[in-house]
Symmetry: C3
Subunit: 273 residues, 3 copies
Amino acid sequence: MLGNCLENVRKTVPLVHNITNYVTVNDVANVLLACGGSPIMSDEIDDVSDITSICGGLNINIGTLNKNTIAAMFAAGKKANELGHKVVLDPVGAGASALRTKTALDLADTIKFDAIRGNISEIKTLSAGSGSTKGVDADSADAVDDNNLDSAVAFVKQLAKERNTIIAVTGATDLVADAKTCYIIKNGRPEMSKITGTGCQLSGMLAAFLVANPENPLEAAAAAVCTMGLAGEIGFANMEKADGNSTYRNRIIDAIYNMTSEELNKGANYEIR
Amino acid sequence: MLGNCLENVRKTVPLVHNITNYVTVNDVANVLLACGGSPIMSDEIDDVSDITSICGGLNINIGTLNKNTIAAMFAAGKKANELGHKVVLDPVGAGASALRTKTALDLADTIKFDAIRGNISEIKTLSAGSGSTKGVDADSADAVDDNNLDSAVAFVKQLAKERNTIIAVTGATDLVADAKTCYIIKNGRPEMSKITGTGCQLSGMLAAFLVANPENPLEAAAAAVCTMGLAGEIGFANMEKADGNSTYRNRIIDAIYNMTSEELNKGANYEIR
Amino acid sequence: MLGNCLENVRKTVPLVHNITNYVTVNDVANVLLACGGSPIMSDEIDDVSDITSICGGLNINIGTLNKNTIAAMFAAGKKANELGHKVVLDPVGAGASALRTKTALDLADTIKFDAIRGNISEIKTLSAGSGSTKGVDADSADAVDDNNLDSAVAFVKQLAKERNTIIAVTGATDLVADAKTCYIIKNGRPEMSKITGTGCQLSGMLAAFLVANPENPLEAAAAAVCTMGLAGEIGFANMEKADGNSTYRNRIIDAIYNMTSEELNKGANYEIR
């Protein structure tokens, strides 16, 4: 059950090294604390090997990449692979610039990732080598919906097989797949797209869930995705008159902080194909 | 009417590229989402030309400038100018250090800005080539008030003419001017100065409003300034016992998220000279 | 009385230059505003000397150090020392990586600090030259409690003497000492460890309190520590159903914003040895 995956995070308090963008980094740290993990941030090449060595997981997010931090991403990823740590890639904006596309592809080719999480345009870019990401949001022409669900599921399974990793595509419908199995998840609220960084936050949590659940990585990844989506629903239900996207951000993190495994088991809305 | 300008942001969802400081960047992103725009952040010189090309506007803020990001500001500004995009400058701390003053002046001399927004000390520094900015706050000796309003209006019109741009000076009284016309705006609350980054947030919004309203840039700029000030008033009215500056920050962004064009038309407090 | 120290911050509005990490920087800025100070952030070596010159205090935090910002820390510290400004060191993660340990030690050997604030593992690392910091959290084996309080007090006094500075160790029990006197402070809530950055926030405040109270630095440092801990208690008392760590963060900063000197005098929970 997904709730066990959350409980294992709380029991083991996985330390996650984040090389992430400076836009949403504070929320990533607070979400990692909310779900029961522990965050550390380091992006200097002379620091990352030591830091990643004391962690259980590494979360690489290219949202505000620069030459120095790109080098640090490769160094940290290499060290984390040597140590058998869990490693997650969030290819923010792959498809939106040549540098982002190239960096995401090079990372995916060089580092063994346990999971790659992005919106559908970013993930398509990883598959095709180019894409049409609209800034940091998915191109609406790429959106996963009930009409193209079969082909989307086949696509993510195929990419998971080729890349030998878990692929997590998040949007109105989330797909979390390895080569054989796909969770189709319908938790979440459309208003979450009006907050910066729910994707970044999820990638951080994903790393913590993978570290805490080494026996069943796909279920752990699905549990992280359901936790974020369900928190979006709970946070929205807690909204009061005059609340907007800034307070919604707080309420989502708060909902993760307060979420029980029973609540997650009950609220998770998914099917497996 | 100013409300139309806000409505146009919501209808067209302008994508704004921000090269901005890491202190307030998360709030800038959430405010852009709140007003109806879409943010993307990128400050690596090898990334900014691609990123700014897919956007409609560029917001350059020197709040935590460094050698690498300064180079990226010039590259992005040049590309945005080539493409006819709207470009905003926020000269944070011009007058407080030689590097900030020089960078702000060089940017203003090299890039065509559609608007420059700062506090009165920063804007005076741009005019005089040196200044007395107190950190990132205006020197109180510079403050615009009813006693010096005529000369302040003349000053901003003159600078707008010389720089061929819109000048937005924000403080207790806000002035938004081109060479001929000045909006004198009295929205806002003094408590807004106890939150970091309302100025940075406004500069991001300003870019979005300019992109969405190409036919009437001065009105668009005034609408952005009134939106922020009015949100400060609404957010303050929503404060509860025990709330302080951190919650006030959220309530202001929330107020922008919930603001209707009617509300803006009704609440905007300005005269035109 | 400690309340006077807070009042002096509010009366004199000390401008504090922060070279700090990008994870918690926004909260540091808002906490400085909440307590009555004024923040400015700058980490470019060509900018820091000018910026620190117009400030009264400097807060150096190595939480996301890199080669460029390390150089800026030394330059700013040297200038601040020349000018007789108050300087605070927050050695985030000293003991967790060789670079962090070396940087913290080099800074402490090169710059005259008025106070050094960290968790017990970071402070032990400064004393021993190596340590066992668990990421950015203290190693539980190091924790200060009633069983080892006498030796912990002796340790911080000794280190304060050797380093000729105030040492502030924060955790469940806080110790704030110079060579002769130690404040043992029991304000705070365990839930504060579930928010990122309360330590970073405190270091920023500490700088402001030292600037505003040049006559009694130890009392000022103790006042800053009590202010943060008491705000943690007040913020927790204000928590409502469904609130979690994200809202708790806001409530703590709000509590500092609203704290009166009487409230601090009444709520401060300490003994002096």
